[in-house]
Amino acid sequence: MNDVFANERFRSAFDPLVFLVALGVAWEASVHLFDIKPYLFPALSDVFRVMWEHRWQMIIEGGYTLLEVLVGFAFAVVGGVVIALLIFFFPTARRTLYPMITTMQSIPKVALAPVMVVWFGYGLSAKFVMAFLFAVFPIIIATLGGLHGTPSNLVEHFQSLRASRWETIWRLRVPSALPSFMDGCKIAIPLAMIGAVVGEFIGSQNGLGYVILVSSSTAQTDLMFAALITIAVLSMVLFAIMELIGRIAWWRAV
């Protein structure tokens, strides 16, 4: 029995890795085989070489992007939860704030980036705002869903226990909403990354988005891919961390 489980776990780590390596090999091979121009599609080996040569740039610019993502995400978590609580508990907020936020969501946030540059300048704060704008909506919706999803029999049970409003929130609704909130965070963190990179596209001297923009204008396609891969890896790591943190709310599936 144990062998079966061990094997299952091994396969779930091993299979995606093999698939990824196979894709990489296919990439490398096809570039050489079909003699694709490096400025169109650089060989994977070249991308890795450039990545290594620019390792300090990758780390520093990646650090900028990471900072933008984390700060924007942190604001999105705090802001999203506060907004969700307001909408849930105050009918006035439900009638005013909620429709306004859903309307805002229908505006392409990419189109807001230039406005943010006008308002917040070319520095980090405009990127914080962009990461926040991308990340906040799923957190609001997921938290609201969690608050609404509190089993009605437990709400009634708390009522029969004569629990105060505050106790019902703190001991029942918040823990009930936690698994759903964590799901929202998992959706939000890659979106915060997108927001930060979009912000860097519009106006910046730093960050991986800026690296992509510059390398594109100088036809350094390999550097562009290096930055893209760095963004993807960073995003995946952040997601994995969210996934791990999300396990504190294990009662989702029970």
Partner: protein, 267 residues
């Protein structure tokens, strides 16, 4: 017939005092809706003496759970309802409720769930009293388990335990074992009997099992289909302490079961 053991008759001490735990007079309940809403209960009069074990049976939708929720202060109503002499306008501190669906919080262990009710009601609860409840309900070894690690029967034991930790004078049970298999249900009924023989709370049990009602109760209230009305009030004069085996073997037991089945229109 075994009607001779007067001293163990549960009514005698309470009868002597004549204390009313529950007084329901002329109560009706209309759920709002189109065409003036739905009349769920109509003209309910029911008095329950302190320490009495009363069961309510009736077809689905007869309003027996509605009546329980009114008693529990969870629903508005028309008429007069008093619990221990106090008009009901919200959940009473003298009452604990156990519902059919488990009351447990999935993120709390057995121990923490047992403590929950007492903590919310600000009743002092010692580790010793929790340990005692664990013993009483046969939950030993499961103190640190979470609800999903317990069987359905175990979960209902914890729900019952959480209610009992509050030391309520009145216990409202809304088909607490209704979702369990027959065997587990029997076992929990035995435990409920044993606990009740010791503590003698006033119990108001909603059930759809006639045998369960006869086995446990001093009185069985029979309700009609919607709008719910009380159609009969049957006193169960079986000797106490009762046991599943002996009580069921009592010829009077089947007489009561048959009588109630007829009233319910089952036979």
């Amino acid at each position: 017939m075994t009607m001779t053991n007067e001293p163990t008759s549960p009514q005698s001490p309470a009868n002597a005092q004549g204390m009313l735990a529950v007084a329901i007079d002329g109560v009706s309940k209309t759920y709002p809706g189109p065409d003036g809403g739905t009349l769920a209960l109509s003209g309910i009069d029911l008095h329950i003496r302190s320490r009495e074990f009363v069961s309510v049976i009736g077809p689905s939708g007869c309003g027996k759970s509605t009546l329980l929720r009114i008693l529990g202060g969870l629903l508005s109503y028309d008429g007069d309802v008093k619990v221990n002499g106090v008009p009901v306008d919200g959940p009473s501190p003298d009452i604990s409720i156990v519902f059919q669906k488990s009351n447990l919080l999935p993120w709390l262990t057995t121990e923490a769930n047992l403590r929950l009710g007492a903590e919310i009601r600000r009743k002092p609860v010692t580790p010793a009293s929790i340990a005692e409840m664990v013993d009483l309900l046969g939950l030993k070894g499961f103190e640190k388990n979470y609800p999903h690690q317990l069987s359905g029967g175990m979960q209902q034991r914890v729900s019952l335990g959480q209610a009992l930790v509050l030391r309520p004078s009145i216990l409202l049970l809304d088909e607490p074992f209704g979702a369990l298999d027959a065997l587990t249900r029997d076992r929990l009924n035995i435990e409920l009997l044993r606990i009740w023989e010791e503590e003698r709370q006033t119990v108001f049990l909603v059930t759809h099992s006639i045998t369960e009602a006869v086995l446990l109760s001093d009185r069985v209230i029979v309700m009609s289909a919607r709008p719910g009305r009380i159609v009969d009030d049957v006193r169960i004069d079986l000797p106490r302490p009762r046991s599943v085996k002996e009580t069921r073997a009592d010829p009077l037991f089947s007489t009561y079961v048959n009588q109630l089945s007829e009233l319910m229109g089952v036979v």
